[in-house]
Every structure is written in structure tokens, then in C-alpha cells.
């Protein structure tokens, strides 16, 4: 670990060092934008081809949990920004508090994600041999809302009519197949996002340790700023994921 504000050998001034670190993180975020961009394109193309199945799949996500997660992540972005402010104004007492709050909110997000994934597992919505879009409506659990189940059943029946017209057996196979595409992308995109959050949590733990030792202040706060940039980027990816995965066909549900 490096001491506060030490100049690394290849730089001439501390300002050059800070400028390089910040520019470096922004360029890394550019690579992340293109990385997620590829899977967003895959999503867009497949949604264009199979909007019915994607609508059905989207309505099976838990909107409440998704909204709570969005609120949690936005709040964590706020606490992260406040951490940067604390470092910039040398508030050595507030800095670890805001950083820990950010980390806690991150863990809440991941916890809710786990609950959602478990729900999908229980409803046979993990792509693979056991995938069955109709599982939940055919096997209602005691705690399920009957209105919700009824609208799901209606939606699936409408979808079956359009998927493979004239071939009732084929319709279910086609719908399951295309819905599996949706859920593959759901798990792929949110899984990739969650992985980035785990890395972010690791980075937060690293700077929390440093902040508890009093290493950051107005004269040296580059790691906080750079971790902040990464964390806000993850928030932005989620903002788009929420819109594209959870909100697309709610109006038809």
C-alpha cells in the first residue's frame, strides 16, 4: 500500500499523477461502456425479433424489488458522492461513514438480487432443461397473489396465439425458447452488473481501510474520486438495465 500523496517515480508532479489517474479511470469506463454495449445490442436485436416473448418474460420480473434496488443504488451513488466531498474537504470523520454507507447499500442491492434470482429458480425460469414459462401459473405457491397469477396466465395464452400460429403445440415450444433468450440475457446482463458491483465492493473496502488510517484529505483524495467514478458508472448501467428489463411491457400486463 502506498503512503499518502507520495509521488510515483514516473511522474514529475502530484498534479500530473492525479490527472493521469483520473483520465485512466475515465478511459477504463469507456471500455466498460462498449463491453456492456455489446450485450445491450444483443438484447435489442433479440427484443426486436421476439417482443412478445420478451414482454411476457419482463412481466415475470418483480417490479417492486427492481424499483427498490434502483432506489438503493441511487442512494449509494449519493453517499459515494458525499464520500468524495468529505475527502475533498478533509472531513476525516465523515469520510469512512459515507464510504461504509455506500458499501452497505451495495450489499443490500446484492442481497435483493439474490432474492430475485432465488425466485426465478423456484419458478423454473433459469434457462436450461427445467425451464418452463408456465410453471408458476400451473403450480401456484400459497403466498402468490391470485390477480397476478391470473394476468400472467392471460398474457401467456395471448402470447401462445401469436408465437406459432396454427400450431398449438409448437407455440409453447417457441414461446419457451424465446423466453429462454430473454432470461439468458436477464441473467447475463444483471449477472455481469452484479459481478462489477462485487468488484466495486472490493474497491470500497480498500479505500475504507485507507480512510480509517486517515490517508485521504484535501491534498490527496485521488483513490476516492477514482472509485467514485467506477461506482457511479455501475449505477448508470443499472438505470438502463432497470428500464430495459423491468419496464418494457408493464403496460400490457
Amino acid at each position: 500500500m502506498h503512503r499518502t500523496g507520495e509521488l510515483y517515480g514516473q511522474f514529475e508532479t502530484l498534479e500530473q499523477q492525479k490527472e493521469s489517474a483520473t483520465l485512466g479511470m475515465w478511459i477504463f469506463l469507456v471500455t466498460e461502456i462498449l463491453f456492456f454495449g455489446g450485450i445491450f445490442l444483443t438484447y435489442a436485436v433479440n427484443r426486436h425479433l421476439y417482443f412478445t416473448a420478451f414482454g411476457v418474460g419482463g412481466n415475470m420480473l418483480d417490479l417492486r424489488l427492481g424499483t427498490i434496488n434502483t432506489v438503493v443504488l441511487i442512494a449509494s451513488s449519493f453517499t459515494m458522492a458525499m464520500s468524495v466531498w468529505s475527502a475533498q474537504t478533509s472531513q476525516k470523520k465523515w469520510l469512512p461513514i459515507f464510504l461504509v454507507l455506500t458499501l452497505v447499500l451495495g450489499f443490500v442491492f446484492l442481497g435483493i438480487k439474490y432474492v430475485e434470482y432465488k425466485q426465478k429458480f423456484d419458478h423454473h425460469l433459469i434457462p436450461g432443461h427445467a425451464f418452463d414459462l408456465t410453471y408458476r401459473m400451473n403450480h401456484p405457491a400459497p403466498g402468490d397473489d391470485p390477480k397476478e397469477l391470473a394476468s400472467e396466465r392471460k398474457e401467456i395464452e395471448e402470447a401462445l396465439a401469436t408465437e406459432d400460429p396454427g400450431n398449438p403445440q409448437g407455440g409453447l415450444v417457441a414461446l419457451n425458447s424465446h423466453a429462454q433468450l430473454y432470461f439468458s440475457l436477464y441473467f447475463g446482463m444483471t449477472g455481469l452488473h452484479a459481478l462489477h458491483m462485487v468488484v466495486g465492493a472490493g474497491l470500497l473496502i480498500w479505500v475504507i481501510k485507507g480512510s480509517l488510517k486517515g490517508r485521504f484529505s484535501a491534498s490527496y483524495n485521488t483513490p476516492i474520486e477514482v472509485v467514485g467514478l467506477y461506482w457511479h458508472f455501475i449505477d448508470i448501467v443499472w438505470i438502463y438495465l432497470f428500464a430495459l428489463l423491468y419496464l418494457i411491457n408493464r403496460h400490457l400486463g
Binding site: 517515480g9 514516473q10 511522474f11 514529475e12 500530473q16 490527472e19 493521469s20 483520465l23 485512466g24 478511459i27 477504463f28 469507456v30 471500455t31 466498460e32 462498449l34 463491453f35 456492456f36 454495449g37 455489446g38 450485450i39 445490442l41 444483443t42 436485436v45 433479440n46 425479433l49 421476439y50 434457462p127 436450461g128 417457441a174 425458447s177 424465446h178 429462454q180 433468450l181 439468458s184 440475457l185 447475463g188
Partner: protein, 558 residues
């Protein structure tokens, strides 16, 4: 008499090669010195060049007879795939940036090192790990999908070791990304006082443009290979038509990177040529700002043309039209460079040193390769020559006749700086000619073969094509000699070559003001730049000024 400082009799006392911090091998494997990392890369890319070369040799031997002389059809598929993967991802893409970019960029801009030296070392280790995965794939059944990994063959039906290869290339992509990131930040923030953007050597401009392509394109192929790998492992359906997926989507995503990737391979080489030509024509480069701008233009326009690889695979006709038009546009900045290099040669004082021979070879072969690219951009013509040896010849003219010649030429140009030694002049010029002859004999017949209809990636061909194939294989053996000769005498020169001194050619870049080999920290005092680039008339500090006779380039014993 000129003011060139006399060539010393021995190497400087302290330099980056004999600086030891810690024990010998640890000081190399844990180094953060950009110059040592460059040499680590030099060794690794040479190993992969050999591996790719072995596969190429086997391909050419196999194609000596129409029914195939060496291997089974399944093995032939593996040969051309592994040749492509090894050469493209593990030789061509890293070569000049990771070896010469790493070594020279800090020297050329007057910095002590790159912006992130530890990330530089990490880049090399990531490259090695990716390479290990790919070698594991080669060794446990090989790869038979073509280097392009088209789905659903790669993601569903192939029985070869696709998954480790895809993981290896995914990991290797991060090496590329981190190198590009390092270069961009370094060039923005670490330039010495007085080194403004338009005083930068064109080599640096070329690497800046290359780095833009690296960071914008590589992440897309990373996610693409990740999705294809997941599809293979978990039977998902993104690119598999049986499950509703679209194979063309894979191709869009794949080529979004892989077309700009070819610009990653050629731009650095063009940067090398832009350094060599003015030096051995003793003239400032013609149209500096146009060459700089054309590098950026190639990087940008290069991202707009990818679907010209998909004209006949199933994209819509309207998309094909759009991409054909854009593909013609991308030729323009390359042409600008060729005109400017030629104008630099005009009325120059040419000296026929080995780097110059390679650079001139580059220009000629790149023009042929580039013009045949225009043939391929034409929709009507592409229907006939797509997936034939015409395409194979086209890209080998650019990648071998262009990129590799630039690499070898750069090796000859900067070898004295890297090692402090010169190499035998006559032998090296002979080797350059051998390379040129061998190359043309190998690949020119392939243009004819493709035009006559011989398909690529086929293990057999109709008997009437045998003569041209035999010519091509004969050429390949001469080409191999053209590579083995420099490897031999360059290694020989490290011990027995004549001492070079700081500026044997002489050239005008900042790197030539340091010792050969340079100190670990490059400059004892941070330089301050007050001169324009390639100014052979007013550089008294290098012994070059108006009125003084031009010094002849130093050369090793013949």
C-alpha cells in the same frame, strides 16, 4: 567536418539492461521498466510467431498436391484456424505496440516511463495467461472453427477445444485494453516541456490512433466471445438458429472489433515507416499534419465498415450497400499516407540501409494489398471472390507485406538503440531482399488462384491449380529464410556487433539523444523540446545543420 559526436568504442557503463535491482531473473520478471517489458514482449511474440509459422508451413506443405499431401481434412481445418489465432491475437496485434510502443513512447515524448508502469507489467502477464489457455486449447484437440469463430459451429457443433481458446482470447483482450489505456494517458499527460502535439513523432500519433481502436473495439469482442462461450457451455441460444438465435448477430458483434483490429495491426507499422522514410531520405516528412490526421481518420472510419465481411452471409442488401460505400471511404486516409511518403522520397538523399529497404517494401506491398481491398469492397465483385484465395492474398499482403515488414524494419531501425549494437549491413540488406522476393512468390499466385475460383479454408483443390500452389509453397520456404536470417544475425550482433553509439543513422527523434542502450530512467535531466520534428537542417545538438555535410549512416562490420 560535421559536429556528430564520435562513435564510442564501448557500450555506456550504466544502462537499463545491466541495471539490477534484486537478483537477475526476478529483476526481469518483476520489472516495471517499460524497456524491459518491451523485451519480455519481444520474446513472447516471437514464440507465437514461430508457432503460427509452424502451422503455416504445414498448410503450405499440405497444399502441394490437389488431394492434400500432409494431413486429414479435419486436421487441415485445425491448421488454418490455429495459424490465424496465433498470428492475429498473439503476434500481430501486440507486436509493434507492445514491443516498440512500450520501448519508445516514453523516450520519444521525453518521459521517464509510461503513466502506469505496473499496469504495463500486468498487461504482459495477462498476455501470457491468455496465451497459456490458447496453447492448452491447441494441445488438447486443437481448434477447427476458423479464427473467426462463426456460430453455431463454434458455439454448438464443433468438437474441438473451443472453450479454452475463447477464454484465452478473452483474457488476452484485456492485455490489449490496458496497453491502449496506458498509451493514451501517457501521451496526454507525460509529454516533456515543449513537446506539443504537433511536435510529436508520427510514430506516437500512430500509436495514439491504435490505442483508440484498442480501447473502443476490444471490449466488444470480449463480450461477444463471452456470450459465445456461455452459449457453448450452457446451451443458450443467442446465436443458435435452432433456439431462435441469429448467427448474423454474432458476426456483427465479432466484426465490429475484428475489422478495426486490422487497423490495430497496420497503423503502428505505418508509424514505423513514417519514422524510417524521413531518416533515410534525409528530409522532413511531407505533410506531417496530414499523416497525423490520417492516422486518426483511419481509426475512426475503420469502425464504420465492419459488415463488409458479411456481404454474402445474410445481412440485408441495404446494409451491404451502406458498408460498401463506407469501405471505399476508409481507403482515402491510407492513400494520403502513401502520397506523403512518396513525396518525402522525392528529391531526398536516399540511403539504402536495411530499415529503408523494409520501409520501401512496405509501401509497395501495402499499396497492392490496399488496392485489392477496394476490389473486395465492390459488392458485385465480392460475390465472386469472397472466401477465395483472393481474400487470403489481400490480407496477407497487408499483414505480412505491410505489418510484419514494418515490424522487421522497425527492429532493424531501433536495434542499435535497444541493444547498443549494429548488425552486418550487407547481410541484412540481402535478407530484406530475400524476404521481399519470398513474400511475393508466396502470395502473388494466390491472387490468381482466388480470381480463378480456388476457395479458401479447403483442404483440397482442383488439379489445374497445382502449379500456382507449388509456386506459393516454394515462395514460403524463401520467405521463411527471410525471417530466419535476421533472427540469426540480430542475436549474433548482441554479442559481436559493432557498438552503435547514441545516434548511428542519424535520426532526429528524442530517443536518439539518449545513450544506446538508454539509462533505466531514460533521461538524466528532463529534456525541453524546442525543435520541430524531422528537421534535418537545424539540429546542431545532433550534428545536423544547414551547410554541414550529411553524415553517412553508421553500419556494422560486413
Amino acid at each position: 567536418m560535421s559536429n556528430t559526436p564520435p562513435t564510442p568504442d564501448e557500450l555506456p557503463h550504466k544502462h537499463y539492461l545491466n541495471a539490477t535491482y534484486g537478483s537477475g531473473i526476478r529483476s526481469w520478471l518483476l520489472t516495471t521498466d517499460h524497456k524491459r517489458i518491451a523485451l519480455l514482449y519481444l520474446a513472447s511474440v516471437t514464440v507465437f510467431f514461430f508457432i503460427g509459422g509452424v502451422f503455416a508451413t504445414m498448410i503450405r506443405i499440405h497444399l502441394l498436391t490437389p488431394r492434400g499431401a500432409l494431413v486429414t481434412p479435419e486436421t487441415y481445418n485445425k491448421l488454418f484456424t490455429m495459424h490465424g489465432v496465433a498470428m492475429i491475437f498473439f503476434f500481430l496485434i501486440p507486436s509493434i505496440p507492445a514491443v516498440f510502443g512500450n520501448f519508445l513512447i516514453p523516450l520519444m515524448i521525453g518521459a521517464k516511463d509510461l503513466a502506469f508502469p505496473k499496469i504495463n507489467l500486468l498487461s504482459w502477464y495477462i498476455y501470457l495467461i491468455g496465451g497459456c489457455f490458447v496453447l492448452y486449447s491447441f494441445g488438447t484437440g486443437g481448434l477447427d472453427t476458423g479464427w473467426t469463430f462463426y456460430t453455431p459451429l463454434s458455439s454448438v457443433y464443433s468438437n474441438s477445444a473451443v472453450t479454452p481458446a475463447v477464454i484465452g482470447i478473452f483474457i488476452n483482450g484485456f492485455s490489449s485494453i490496458l496497453t491502449g489505456l496506458n498509451f493514451i494517458v501517457t501521451i496526454h499527460t507525460m509529454r516533456a516541456p515543449g513537446m506539443t502535439w504537433f511536435r510529436l513523432p508520427l510514430f506516437v500519433w500512430a500509436h495514439y490512433a491504435t490505442s483508440l481502436v484498442m480501447i473502443l473495439g476490444t471490449p466488444v469482442v470480449a463480450i461477444t466471445l463471452l456470450l459465445a462461450g456461455l452459449e457453448r457451455m450452457f446451451h443458450l441460444g443467442f446465436f443458435n438458429p435452432a433456439l431462435g438465435g441469429d448467427p448474423i448477430l454474432f458476426q456483427h458483434l465479432f466484426w465490429f472489433y475484428s475489422h478495426p483490429a486490422v487497423y490495430i495491426m497496420i497503423l503502428p507499422s505505418m508509424g514505423v515507416v513514417s519514422e524510417i522514410i524521413p531518416t533515410f531520405a534525409r528530409k522532413p516528412i511531407f505533410g506531417y499534419s496530414f499523416i497525423a490526421g490520417s492516422s486518426i481518420a483511419i481509426a475512426v472510419i475503420g469502425f464504420l465498415v465492419w459488415a463488409h465481411h458479411m456481404f454474402v452471409t445474410g445481412e440485408s442488401a441495404y446494409a451491404a450497400l451502406t458498408f460498401s460505400f463506407l469501405s471505399y471511404l476508409v481507403a482515402i486516409p491510407s492513400a494520403v499516407k502513401v502520397f506523403n511518403w512518396t513525396s518525402t522520397l522525392y528529391k531526398g538523399s536516399i540511403s539504402w540501409d536495411p530499415p529503408m529497404i523494409y520501409a520501401l517494401g512496405f509501401i509497395g506491398l501495402f499499396v497492392i494489398g490496399g488496392l485489392t481491398g477496394l476490389f473486395l469492397a465492390c459488392l458485385g465483385l465480392d460475390i465472386h471472390i469472397h472466401d477465395t484465395y483472393f481474400v487470403v492474398a489481400h490480407f496477407h499482403y497487408i499483414m505480412v507485406g505491410g505489418a510484419v515488414m514494418g515490424y522487421v524494419g522497425g527492429l532493424h531501425f531501433w536495434w542499435p538503440k535497444i541493444t547498443g549494437r549494429l548488425y552486418p549491413r550487407s547481410l541484412s540488406r540481402f535478407a530484406a531482399i530475400i524476404l521481399f522476393i519470398g513474400f511475393n512468390l508466396t502470395f502473388f499466385p494466390q491472387f490468381i488462384l482466388g480470381y480463378l475460383g480456388m476457395p479458401r479454408r479447403y483442404h483440397t483443390y482442383p488439379p489445374e491449380f497445382q502449379v500456382l500452389n507449388v509456386l506459393s509453397t516454394a515462395g514460403a520456404s524463401i520467405l521463411a529464410l527471410g525471417y530466419l536470417l535476421p533472427m540469426s544475425y540480430l542475436i549474433w550482433s548482441m554479442r559481436y556487433g559493432k557498438v552503435a553509439g547514441p545516434n548511428p543513422w542519424p535520426a532526429t527523434g528524442l530517443e536518439w539523444k539518449t545513450d544506446s542502450p538508454p539509462l533505466t530512467e531514460n533521461f538524466e535531466v528532463t529534456p525541453e523540446v524546442t525543435w520541430e520534428p524531422y528537421d534535418f537542417k537545424s539540429r546542431p545538438d545532433l550534428g545536423l545543420e544547414t551547410g554541414a555535410p550529411l553524415p553517412a549512416p553508421a553500419h556494422g562490420d560486413d
